[in-house]
Amino acid sequence: MNDLSLSELLAAHPPRDGALLPLLHAVQEALGHVPPAAVPLIAEHLSLSRAEVHGVISYYHFFRSSAPGKQVLQVCRAEACQARGAEALLAHAEARLGCASHHTRADGAVTLEPVYCLGLCASAPALQINERLHARMTPAKLDALLAKEGL
């Protein structure tokens, strides 16, 4: 963890009503995750208990306590995408990457995550890789995308 940037982030998010989520977002944006070592510092900064901060981090799907892979592939598996083959697409991604969903591959190259709707339901199935959206996906198009990303 980069201590300097964490203290800068804390300084940029002074205690105020409802400050915790914006601060956690800022930390995750800067560091890729919210490291456990940051929890006591955040708690002290906002006058919360460590348990409260940990409770919030663990409650929300978006926050991570450990670093993700170098690349993150999120495949939508909500109903509209299911209607266009999302389950098969996710299975294909698992096989192609050699990585189960909800996991980071052993070499740290990629994390595979199911997500529940990216708002692209009319162009299903949809996925996101490294924060770029892709719709009307097929296993073949996914292969081409992954190859382009060096995966």
Partner: protein, 525 residues
């Protein structure tokens, strides 16, 4: 070669970006530069005709001409064919406004989306922007609320509670600090109208929330946007900055001396945080656990203060109601469902996209008239209306008019207007299992029927699905499943646990074959 500057529109909506709109825009810029063609590239919102994205439009004397779906590689050929003059090409769709999917709509809240540059204050102003706010500033709060009440507008986020009554409650509450909160969590599969609004016409939401603030006497507002929508978040933040700089937000709204400050809050991937009290907890910086009601958020909401909470489309309807008058809005619709709803066609549908129509059309008109049937070309089997907590509607009910009461009467919901189509390869027992699984993943954990019941629901459905050879056991499990759904319906604190039985039971009742049971009983509704 012409030398006049031609306006070309390439959407910046997420759904266009996801199929390569940025690459198309870049190719256009590059090719036009190489060819010495002068173009003004406008990045508009989406018209919502998603099978045609990337939909490129060119301004011509005949109106805007549409081409789609355009890929970057098509750009040189399009320019060769005279794209900038609206020339013939296999991708040419004609005058945009005359494409039947669009021409047959009744666009009120979506009248500017896809038309204007979303972040241009000048474009917004030139297209009826701020007219509602200016009228609101000339009225007192109770007169604004009278307009809202008379319009018949009901909350578009799902529960369909009259917006005017909610605003009235907040207005009459005594407090030094009141809030306006916009629910932009839009977690339902098959819905994207909030996202399109925020990305395609953000000033409309700002205007609507400001009208609400003036009506109830609130000075601070929050827009809670799901983390899955980074483009909507960025667009809203930029729009707030521009509106503030231009004096539409801030210490003195339009020089009136009345303050309204607006802020975006990014959510963190929890479906139940779309439930209004869980959302308040989340904005306050806590775990998004549902609060018991009462007290109503209108009286004790954000930080314990009176708070107006509405959906994006609810707020976005306020400007046109104020600008054109409540009666003009009220005249759309049927029964007690007034106005229009942006229906959202999704899933296995040939022409997926946004259809804003007055209440009262039927699902069949949407599925075939607008949607053109399935994308796979196979028969439609089941349609889930109203998001993951909505019922699966079988063909026998596709002619019921879409209005809140008619849908409630058949045990279904209109919800946020999301429509997800499945063809005949769908296994409804699998989709019922998924509904339970989703509830188990997203439950806030506060009450047992939802927290434990959903996990048990997955197990029971699995026993039904994988016990194909034991009829007796399967029959027992079906009784158990119905019992469990009954407990969830009546014992849950919020609609997450309370409505998960809708998709589950509708699947079981209308598609029993998929559960290994006898064909549907014609008497079962």
């Amino acid at each position: 070669m012409t030398s006049a500057i031609v306006k070309v529109f390439v959407p910046r909506d997420s759904a266009a970006l996801a199929v390569g709109a940025d690459e198309v825009a870049e190719a256009l810029r590059h090719e036009c530069q190489c060819r010495g063609l002068k173009v003004e590239l406008v990045r508009n919102g989406s018209r919502g005709l998603f099978w045609l994205e990337t939909l490129v439009e060119v301004q011509t004397p005949q109106g805007r001409i549409a081409y789609g779906p355009v890929e970057a590689a098509d750009v040189p050929g399009l320019l060769d064919a005279g794209l900038l003059q609206g020339g013939e090409h296999p991708l040419r769709q004609g005058v945009t406004e005359q494409i039947p999917f669009l021409a047959l709509q009744e666009r009120l809240t979506f009248r500017r989306v896809g038309v204007i540059d979303p972040l241009s204050l000048a474009d917004y102003e030139a297209h009826e922007g701020w007219a509602g706010l200016r009228r609101a500033l000339s009225l007192d709060g109770s007169a604004i609320i009278q307009e809202m009440l008379h319009s018949g507008l009901r909350g578009r986020g799902g529960a369909a509670f009259p917006a005017g009554i909610k605003w009235k409650t907040v207005r009459e509450a005594q407090s030094a600090q009141k809030y306006v909160v916009c629910n932009a969590d839009e977690g339902d599969s098959g819905t994207y109208s909030d996202r399109m609004t925020m990305e395609g016409d953000p000033f409309m939401l700002i205007e609507g929330m400001t009208i609400a603030a003036l009506a109830v006497g609130a000075t601070r507002g929050y827009i809670y946007i799901r983390s899955e929508y980074p483009h909507a978040i960025a667009t809203m933040k930029e729009a707030i900055a521009r509106a503030t700089a231009a004096g539409f937000l801030g210490d003195s709204v339009c020089g009136s001396g009345r303050a309204f400050h607006l802020e975006v809050r990014k959510a963190a991937g929890s479906y139940v945080c779309g439930e209004e009290t869980a959302m308040l907890e989340s904005i306050e910086g806590k775990r998004g656990v549902v609060r018991a009601k009462p007290p109503l958020p209108a009286l004790s909401g954000l930080f314990g203060q009176p708070t107006v909470i509405n959906n994006v489309i609810t707020f976005a309807s306020a400007p046109i109601i104020l600008a054109r008058g409540a009666q003009a809005y009220r005249d759309f619709g049927v029964g007690r469902s007034h106005g229009t709803l942006p229906f959202q066609l999704a899933g296995n549908i040939k022409h997926g996209g946004l259809v804003e129509k007055a209440f009262g059309l039927t699902l069949r008109e949407l599925l075939y008239g607008f949607g053109g049937g399935t994308a796979s070309g196979r028969p439609i089997k089941a349609v889930q209306v109203g998001g993951p907590l909505g019922a699966y509607v079988p063909e026998s009910q596709w002619d019921v008019p879409l209005d809140y009461e008619a849908y409630a009467a058949m045990g279904a919901v209109v919800g946020h207007g999301g429509i997800v189509v499945h063809d005949d390869t769908a296994d409804l027992s699998q989709l019922a299992r998924y509904a339970m699984e989703f509830c188990a993943i997203e439950s806030c954990g506060k009450c047992t029927p939802c927290r434990i019941g959903s996990t048990r629901g997955v197990e029971v459905i699995d026993r039904i699905r994988f016990n194909r050879n034991n009829d007796q056991n399967r029959a027992e499990q079906v009784i158990l499943l119905r019992d469990l759904c009954d407990t969830m319906t009546h014992g849950s604190l919020c609609a997450m646990g309370g409505m998960t039985p809708f998709p589950v039971l509708s699947a079981l009742n209308h598609y029993p074959q998929d559960f290994g049971l006898a064909a549907p009983d014609q008497a079962a509704a």
